[in-house]
């Protein structure tokens, strides 16, 4: 569908040597890295570019100021789309478990095998792509859905409930002909080839749009 952008790895670590050597390591496998020394710095950068492309966030748990775990919780609250890989010092396993429960993608214990780091990051990037694709698709569907008129949404709702045209026509006090015209218009606007495809689209959107 859309062309896949180069993934970008974000690193938040208070140790400059770690940031730079990781950047070097990622560069050696063709990954672009973006470094931040503190959680606040990262959050500031994030606010300028709310929709990041594919990639992963590598978080050092032990940092001065806001800790890695705290940052992770904040990001989860604002639906940050990228997988978070937690890097812990030796002996921080309970913290790592907590991070995983809070939705971290994985955790790596220092000192780590760089291959493991690279593998984990690669998996995280793949996951990020999936998440981003799904998000993009949902956003598309939401946009199409938003283009429907009031009557069209009422008709779509009843069609999704499995009601035949004449029941819908009866309920909306319209003619069957008019319902059929709306139905064709919905299919066009939602760019759905079939009723089954339309149903799948709505199922994707429904959890997010149901309440609004």
């Amino acid at each position: 569908m859309t062309e896949s952008p180069r993934p970008r790895i974000m690193i938040v670590d208070d140790d400059e040597a770690m940031r730079r050597s990781m950047t070097f390591l990622f560069a050696s496998v063709g990954l672009e890295a973006e470094c931040h020394a503190t959680a606040d710095e990262f959050l500031a950068a994030l606010s300028m570019r709310p929709r990041p492309g594919p990639g992963a966030l590598i978080l050092d748990v032990r940092m001065p100021g806001m800790s890695g775990l705290e940052l992770q919780r904040r990001l989860a609250d604002q639906d940050f789309p990228l997988p978070v890989v937690i890097v812990t010092g030796h002996g921080d396993v309970p913290m790592a478990v907590e991070a995983l429960k809070a939705g971290a993608f994985d955790f790596i214990e220092k000192p780590f095998k760089e291959q493991y780091l690279l593998d984990t990051v690669e998996k995280a990037v793949r996951r990020s792509r999936e998440v981003l694709t799904r998000d993009a698709r949902r956003r598309t569907i939401e946009e199409r859905h938003a283009r429907l008129g009031r009557r069209e949404k009422e008709v779509l709702e009843r069609i999704m409930a499995g009601k035949p045209n004449k029941v819908v026509a009866y309920e909306l006090d319209l003619s069957i002909k008019t319902i059929e015209a709306y139905r064709a218009s919905i299919m066009t606007k939602m760019e759905a080839g079939s009723l089954a495809e339309l149903a799948r689209m709505i199922a994707t959107v429904e959890p997010g749009t149901g309440s609004s």
């Binding site: 040597a17 050597s21 390591l25 050696s28 010092g89 030796h90 220092k110 000192p111 760089e114």
Partner: protein
């Protein structure tokens, strides 16, 4: 004991007397016949005659007896009256309650009643005794040992002069008559003799003794007494009645006696005071006072009961005092011992506590340090790995990107430098303070360290033998650092011995001097070192102990080397390990 001499003449006289007054009541008068019955009769016949004349209703009979006879007669109450010497009288008075009615007086003497005394005579030659005290060592002639005037009177004077009969060479008893004493002196059987007062003068007057033949020993003055005396005068003989004699008779007899005309200058007068006689007997502890001489404990106690009371009180107090002191001393000693033991225990506990605390704090610091070291070194190491791995990948991928590889190499170098800086910082931390060099005696340092170490060693049951070389040349070193090294070696030795069976040999600490170094060796009898352990012995973080950090020996070696010395292990052929520290002696002090 003398016997009364009953001659036929006397018997006849008695018979005649008895016949003349057969129908009258017989009154028996015992007379002490100290010079024989005849003499007694002669002396007292006028008295009997006077009594017979004035009291015709009674028939008076004179019974001459010796001292024992008189005593027996009085005891048996076979006589009514008794005439005896003052000494015997006092004895009878106290024993049988006889009472004097009159005292013999000599009208030709002054004073007339105190006429009994004694004279000690000695042959008049050069060196003859002058004072009674001079009689010591001489033989003394006396008529009899129980004679009053013949011995006891002088006995008392000798006693006053501090002379006891046992100080004499001997007491020569001559028996009556008293002239025998003179004879004994003449015959040389005695050196001095006791005679009654006036005998000497009487004999001189009779021409029996030369005026200058004898000298008087211990002569004393008695006012108005006509003869030379060696004793104080005593009252003359008393006429006494027995306790059971009728008072009427006694009164009549007394009246008769007092009215008797003097015969030969002798008559009877009012009864005299015999306390001086009592005093004599008391002093000599004889007669009625013989119980004093017997000095039975009971008698002595009775006589000196108040002193005994005082003494008993004192002894009692003393016993109580001694017991009290003993008890107190024992209690104090026990308390002291307990206190000492407690203090020792407290000190030992405090020392243990301090050592443990030091150990913990050291372990705590080292533990903290180790954690810091791990964390701090992890960062540059991880970074280096990242760079190296990145470069490897680039090279493996066949990419030749000099700038990129150069970045990686720079990164590695930078991180290596950072790691080195961390190590330097740790070193500085371990040292913590400036080493302070001072001139030290290695023996001193060892001694002080052992004082610190004794606790843990003893607690673990390891025996510690110390062989100090003595007179070691001084070294320039940091005392605390050397102590740290020694403590470490000692601790290792104790740890090494822990597993080993408790053998006789424990840890041996010795100092020695070799040329220009002094060294201290800590030898244990543990299992020694395996080659693998020996290879890594001084490696940092290499340890064989479960709780060990692997820092001890590496720090020790650093310290020793910073002193220009050497620390090395030697496995002993007969088991165990010796860790030796050799330190250089500064050249100016080395010979």
């Amino acid at each position: 004991m003398r016997r009364a001499h009953h001659s036929p003449i006397l018997s006849l006289f008695f018979v005649l007397l008895f016949a003349a007054t057969a129908e009258a009541r017989e009154v028996r008068i015992a007379v002490l016949a100290f010079q024989g019955s005849e003499r007694a009769v002669q002396d007292f016949e006028p008295t009997i005659a006077q009594l017979a004349a004035s009291l015709s209703e009674h028939r008076f009979t004179m019974v001459p007896l010796d001292l024992a006879g008189i005593s027996r007669a009085v005891a048996e109450k076979s006589v009514d009256f008794v005439v005896t010497n003052p000494g015997d009288y006092v004895d009878l008075e106290s024993r049988f309650g006889v009472t004097r009615l009159a005292t013999l007086e000599s009208r030709d003497r002054m004073p007339p009643t105190d006429t009994v005394g004694s004279t000690v005579i000695a042959p008049n030659r050069v060196g003859a005794p002058k004072r009674l005290a001079d009689l010591a060592g001489n033989r003394l002639a006396v008529v009899a040992g129980d004679a009053f005037g013949g011995w006891r009177v002088i006995h008392r004077e000798m006693d006053d002069a501090g002379l006891s009969p046992s100080d004499l060479a001997g007491l020569v008893e001559t028996g009556f008559p008293m002239e025998r004493v003179v004879a004994a002196l003449r015959e040389g059987r005695a050196d001095a003799g006791v005679v009654r007062a006036c005998l000497l003068e009487d004999e001189i007057a009779r021409g029996m003794v030369g005026a200058e033949e004898f000298t008087v020993v211990g002569e004393r003055q008695a006012a108005g007494f006509p003869c030379r005396l060696s004793s104080r005068p005593y009252p003359d003989w008393p006429f006494a009645r027995l306790a059971g004699t009728s008072p009427d008779l006694a009164k009549a007899v007394t009246a008769s006696l007092l009215s008797m005309a003097p015969v030969g200058g002798r008559a009877w007068t009012a009864p005299q005071d015999y306390t001086t006689v009592h005093a004599l007997f008391r002093q000599l502890k004889i007669g009625p006072y013989a119980h004093l001489a017997r000095t039975t404990f009971g008698g002595f106690v009775r006589a000196h009961w108040h002193w005994f009371l005082v003494a008993a009180a004192f002894v009692g107090w003393w016993i109580v005092h001694v017991a009290r002191v003993e008890t107190l001393v024992r209690r104090r000693t026990a308390e002291l011992t307990r206190e000492i033991r407690e203090r020792e225990r407290a000190e030992r506990a405090a020392r243990l506590h301090r050592e443990e605390r030091d150990q913990f704090s050291r372990l705590g610091i080292l533990g903290e340090m180790a954690s810091n070291i791990a964390h701090e070194l992890n960062q540059p190491l991880a970074a280096i790995t990242n760079y190296a791995e990145g470069m490897t990948r680039v090279i493996d991928a066949g990419r030749t990107d000099p700038a990129f590889l150069r970045d990686g190499a720079r990164g590695i170098a930078g991180q290596a430098e950072r790691a080195a800086a961390i190590i330097r910082r740790i070193r500085a931390f371990v040292r913590r303070r400036e080493a302070k060099r001072e001139s030290l005696d290695l023996d001193d340092v060892v001694h002080e360290t052992l004082a610190l170490f004794e606790g843990p060693a003893l607690r673990r049951g390891a025996s510690l033998e110390v062989r100090l070389a003595g007179a070691l040349p001084p070294i320039s070193a940091d005392r605390a650092e050397l102590e740290q090294v020694l403590l470490n070696l000692l601790q290792n030795a104790v740890d090494a011995m822990d597993g080993a069976a408790a053998s006789g040999s424990g840890i041996v600490v010795s100092t020695s001097r070799e040329h220009d170094t002094v060294s201290v060796a800590v030898r244990d009898h543990g299992p020694g070192l395996t080659p693998e352990v020996e290879a890594h012995l001084f490696d940092t973080f290499f340890t064989t102990k479960p709780q060990g950090l692997g820092l001890g020996l590496s720090i020790c070696r650093t310290i020793v080397e910073s002193h220009g010395g050497r620390l090395w292990p030697t496995n002993e052929p007969d088991g165990g390990l010796t860790m030796r520290v050799a330190l250089p002696v500064p050249p100016e002090d080395a010979t």
